[in-house]
């Protein structure tokens, strides 16, 4: 059975690229374009195995979303995908308990490796 990944991202080009690459890699992909929809999906779909999220999102920020996931689904692995490569942003993300941090636009091979590694470690 394919493992399911939830992508939370509001740039359609990035979403399309992630969907394309991760589907090719053999995953099922679900997309939410904002944090509120992501919470609804996580509430209803218990088969999600990994969350990939931007930090700057409409309605609920990525930070709030990550805090919510850590409080309610502590075992859910999270990869942050952000345009920022500023050290403090990366450090803050890891302090919140995310498992990995990838900069947009992502390197396709690196994404595959990091997703595989993160999912397999859970």
């Amino acid at each position: 059975m394919k493992k399911k990944i939830l992508i939370i991202e509001d740039n359609p080009m990035v979403v399309k690229s992630l969907e394309f690459k991760l589907t090719k890699d053999g995953y099922d992909v679900v997309v939410a374009e904002d944090g509120r929809k992501a919470l609804d999906i996580l509430k209803e779909d218990k088969s999600i195995r990994l969350v990939i999220t931007d930090l700057m999102l409409p309605f609920i920020t990525g930070t709030e979303l990550i805090e919510h996931i850590r409080n309610h689904i502590p075992d859910m692995p999270i990869i942050v995908l952000s345009t920022s490569n500023q050290e403090e942003v990366i450090t803050d993300a890891f302090m919140m308990g995310v498992n990995d941090f990838i900069t947009k636009p992502f390197s396709p091979n690196e994404l595959s490796l990091r997703v595989k590694r993160t999912i397999e470690s859970y």
């Binding site: 359609p12 947009k104 396709p108």
Partner: protein, 243 residues
């Protein structure tokens, strides 16, 4: 060579570095040296270069891994020259030039050409499909759909940008710039990406209208070029972006 040209030389062969640094073509260049790719990475993070010359056997990252990291993580593009030991043919490839030992005057001239070529072309490049092709393994449908997305979704965002500027809502402008920055990056447009970055993290409110205009102009220029290459796009989209 222009006096401001900066060259980073990465490798262990100091004799080669000296030959390179003493050659007349590098007379007015500022040549920096480091022996390993980790140190090179630190320098590339901290500064910009016009040319990066690397020996093939550098470690811990080989030349391709180093440049891949620089491109994807630092989001910088540098022209590069690999100095090899003869295991691969010399020549100019898509993203780099390869020369093999021994390095003579003619080959140094070739390095000079790489530098001039880079200075001529890097800033003129409006868009590139390299990233999307790499990602999709040259899937034409994916490519066209993604280009279409760029055109259509950014048209909406550019209109939102106008409205936010009119309202002097600079936080909204910063959010829009944050949202569209990866779109410019995915099409290899350094100027759009870098101006969006400035709007997001550095620009004062007073500078934002002018910077936003640069982003909009860049978008229009890219679309003009894209429509030449993908004429079918014109038939899909009814709305025009007329600002």
């Amino acid at each position: 060579m222009d006096a401001q040209n900066k060259v980073l030389f990465v490798g262990l062969d100091k004799a080669l570095l000296e030959t390179f640094a003493n050659h007349e073509i590098t007379h007015d260049c500022h040549v920096e040296y480091c022996s390993d790719s980790f140190s090179a990475l630190q320098r590339l993070k901290a500064s910009s270069y016009n040319l990066v010359v690397m020996e093939e056997n550098i470690a811990p990252l080989d030349p391709f891994k180093l440049m891949d990291y620089v491109f994807h993580e630092l989001q910088k593009v540098y022209p590069m020259v690999i100095v090899g030991n003869g295991s691969h043919e010399e020549g100019t490839y898509e993203n780099y030039t390869r020369v093999n030992h021994p390095i003579d005057g003619a080959k140094l001239d070739q390095l000079s050409l790489s530098l001039h070529h880079a200075n001529d072309t890097v800033e003129e490049k409006l868009f590139s499909l390299d990233y999307l092709n790499e990602l999709s393994n040259n899937d034409q449908d994916f490519l066209e759909e993604t280009i279409q997305l760029f055109r259509d979704t950014l048209a909406v965002k550019m209109n939102e940008l106008d409205k936010a500027i009119l309202m002097s809502d600079f936080e909204e402008v910063r959010q829009i710039a944050h949202n569209v920055k990866p779109s410019f990056a995915m099409l290899g447009n350094e100027k759009g990406k870098s101006v969006c970055q400035t709007i997001c993290y550095e620009a004062k409110d007073a500078d934002i209208p002018e910077l936003s205009q640069v982003v909009k102009n860049e978008y229009k220029l890219i679309i003009k070029e894209i429509e030449k290459q993908f004429p079918k796009l014109k038939h899909y989209e009814k709305e025009d972006f007329d600002h």
